[in-house]
């Protein structure tokens, strides 16, 4: 699945230089940092950049996985292998624990992505993180197009677009009040294509579900979903075997697979360039809930 590593194009080198600066700025400005890590390609790339930013020393912060419990087993295995291989420190905040304690309620549609916000905000508070790094990109979605690289969050983790600081030149201001924290987005300026080209050029390992494979799926709302305890397939939905891959990785209940023959990174780049849908439009039910669903979730403390 991996192509031979090659040198970076000038464009990717520009992006990498910027991301390394942001990661080192975060490490220099904050006392306790977590890197949000889902095993998805964007968080894997941020982690890889962090390893490069601080080599030969260890990455000076821990990984935080907000686990919905609706995981692809391949992704959890990938996560655990990566931790084993790199010596990274991993903390897991399980949505299930909040449900068991009665602090969160399961939604009627079974989707747990929106339920991640409370465990995330509470873990930040409990651990005393003053900065949380994430793999959000501005090209993903319209609300994210307005996000800062250093984004101030209030005591409740909330994002107020009108309160964001202007970011001038490449001077990043991490100043904040006690109780507030800063979300830092080192790959803000990367596109989906940039991510894949970088993964190819740097020979980065990914969970295998990003590449075309045979899978038992059923169709719902125009997406191919994998069966699981979370509530699928329902009556009337039939399982069938298709050759698919995932363009994004999230909660199983709302992340759809796309029909695909792309088994290498080059195939994937070709597929993206001819796709008529954005990655979120193609595969994320949580973004289809409404035109402003990302804006609303960010205001509550979501990434």
């Amino acid at each position: 699945m991996r192509e031979t590593a090659t040198t970076l194009s000038p464009h990717l080198k520009d992006l990498e230089n910027e991301s390394l600066q942001i990661l080192r700025e975060a490490a220099g400005q904050f006392d306790k940092i977590a890197l949000l890590f889902s095993g998805g390609k964007d968080s894997v790339v941020v982690f890889e950049l962090a390893r490069r930013a601080f080599a030969p020393a260890q990455v000076p912060f821990e990984l935080l996985h907000v686990d919905t419990g609706h995981n692809f087993s391949e992704v959890i295995k990938f996560r655990d292998d990566l931790v084993e291989r790199t010596g990274a420190r991993l903390r897991v905040a399980k949505v299930q624990d909040w449900i068991d304690r009665g602090e969160l309620k399961e939604r009627p549609d079974g989707t747990r992505n929106p339920l991640q916000t409370v465990p995330l905000v509470e873990t930040i508070e409990e651990q005393g993180y003053d900065a949380v790094l994430g793999g959000a990109r501005r090209d993903e979605e319209r609300a994210r197009a307005k996000e800062r690289i250093f984004s101030v969050r209030d005591n409740f983790g909330g994002w107020d677009p009108r309160r964001q600081r202007p970011e001038i030149w490449n001077l990043y201001n991490g100043g904040h009040l006690p109780g507030e924290n800063i979300r830092v987005f080192p790959i803000s300026n990367w596109t989906e294509t940039d991510i894949w080209e970088y993964i190819g050029a740097r020979g980065i390992e990914l969970p295998p579900i990003y590449f075309a494979h045979e899978r038992e799926v059923f169709e719902r709302d125009g997406m191919y979903l994998t069966a699981g305890d979370w509530g699928g397939p329902k009556k009337g939905e039939t399982l069938e075997t298709k050759k698919v891959r995932y363009r994004t990785v999230g909660d199983m209940s709302c992340t759809g697979a796309v029909l695909s023959e792309a088994s290498t990174i080059d195939d994937i780049l070709t597929e993206i360039s001819t796709s008529t849908l954005t990655e979120r439009g193609a595969t994320r039910a949580d973004d289809r809930l409404g035109e402003s669903s990302m804006e609303d979730r960010k205001k509550e403390g979501y990434f």
């Binding site: 000038p10 990498e16 080192r24 197009a145 600081r165 100043g175």
Partner: protein, 431 residues
């Protein structure tokens, strides 16, 4: 050898593959439509995004899809038909990759324009052919000039609404070129466009046979932009503010991580560490392994010959390292609703340093409409002012360079960490 080259290497002189640009215009100049058109005609818009636009346009009873809906991000904006804040867009052609900062025209125009312009190499201003150059156009141009932008495009929009009149276009063009020259901007391109109909944005127009220049995209693909200004006689030498010290005990490794803000560095070069200390660069470590040479904007780790206790905030520089300074003059732009007064206690972020500072005095505030300066007691949001700043500890400070990589700083509220102003060092020996 103690010579540190200030000549950019041929690699740095290469045409940049990535172009950072910023768009600005006043309300109703059709800027969102222009950006939507640019994205649409470069095939950067996918079917799910376009169908959402078509659906909303139909619901509003519009005849054509309203391409501005592609870029108006937040619900509050869509409901009010305005743009609140700087948004970033990405598109590419076979020739180049573009990162576009889309800045709104009405509220807090200076603040947002400064933000967009500060990361850009090219500024695209929009004007309405029916109204020509308005005060907003002049303000945006003044901000671009202030930050040292070298390439400006004026897109004269809605040319269809003046019947594709060559004479109206030429009047606006001549006035704008003259205005830009007076502010020291020499690479100016004025282009007649209709963002709504697509004339001369990406595709050349059949309706403007009297115009033989490039389309907006054509210009952006070809414009020559270099990271370092090679023409400048007094170009700044190597500057490397330390971001982070990397230590690894088992390998006895101690390296200084940062991003080169000026000049270049080679293994074997001598560097000035301040306080009469110097060292030789023994290794340049990077994401691509060991390098022999590295240039501006590269993120690298330097290892030095001599034992030293450098830390985050310290500067590694070439032999033209600036003297340590505690007082300097600067041009600042007010970015906060909180006004700045003389004697205010502040924090300053300069390079990777963060220290206490004081606004000693406000020399003058610029009236951008008349280009005249007047006295003032405070610096308000969107004001451009000349001020004197005193630092609690001496710092090696450079004059501002056009790339904003050296001589640029933020003034920060010490009570809550908010950014109050952006500044450019203008005089190191103020009277």
């Amino acid at each position: 050898m103690t010579v540190t080259s200030t000549e950019p290497s041929s690699e740095i002189l290469q045409q940049r593959q990535t172009l950072h640009l910023c768009t600005a215009g006043s309300v109703d100049d059709g800027k969102s439509t222009f950006v939507g058109r640019l994205l649409h005609d470069t095939k950067s818009i996918l079917a799910d995004q376009l169908s959402a636009v078509e659906r909303t346009s139909r619901e509003r009873g519009l005849e054509h899809p309203d391409l501005s809906l592609l870029v108006d991000g937040l619900r509050a904006e869509r409901e009010q038909g305005i743009t609140i804040d700087v948004a970033y867009r990405y598109f590419s052609t076979a020739r180049r990759t573009f990162i576009l900062a889309d800045t709104p025209g009405h509220v807090q125009y200076t603040r947002n324009t400064v933000t967009g312009v500060s990361t850009s190499e090219v500024v695209v201003l929009l004007s309405d052919a029916r109204h020509g150059i308005v005060s907003q156009t002049k303000r945006h141009l003044a901000v671009a000039a202030l930050l040292g932008i070298k390439h400006v495009v004026l897109a004269v929009n809605k040319i269809d609404l003046v019947d594709y009149s060559a004479s109206i276009f030429e009047t606006i063009r001549d006035e704008f070129v003259e205005l830009a020259r007076s502010k020291g901007i020499t690479d100016v391109q004025v282009i007649p466009i209709s963002a709504l109909l697509g004339d001369n944005v990406v595709n050349p127009s059949e309706h403007t046979p009297w115009y033989d220049g490039p389309t907006v995209l054509g210009y952006l693909e070809e414009v020559e932009v270099h990271t370092q200004n090679t023409n400048s006689e007094n170009s700044t030498g190597f500057r490397f503010p330390i971001q982070y010290v990397i230590r690894e005990g088992s390998q006895d490794y101690r390296g200084y991580a940062g991003r080169i803000t000026s000049g270049e560095i080679a293994v074997g070069d001598s560097v000035d560490l301040g306080q009469e200390r110097s060292a030789t660069v023994t290794h340049i470590d990077s994401s691509d392994g060991a390098l022999n040479i590295a240039g501006v904007d590269e993120s690298v780790v330097l290892r030095l010959s001599a034992e030293n206790d450098l830390a985050r905030g310290d500067l590694i520089a070439a032999s033209d390292r600036p003297e340590d300074t505690t007082i300097f003059e600067a041009t600042i732009v007010g970015l906060s609703e909180q006004s700045l007064r003389a004697k205010s206690k502040l924090k300053i972020r300069y390079g990777t340093s963060l220290l206490q500072a004081r606004l000693v005095g406000i020399t003058s505030v610029l009236d951008i409409d008349t280009s005249t300066e007047h006295e003032a007691q405070t610096v308000e949001l969107n004001d451009i002012a000349t001020v004197k700043i005193q630092l609690a500890q001496p710092l090696p400070i450079d004059l501002y360079n056009a790339q904003g990589r050296v001589g640029s700083f933020l003034l920060i509220d010490p009570s809550d960490g908010n950014t109050l102003a952006a500044g450019m060092v203008s005089d190191l020996n103020p009277s």
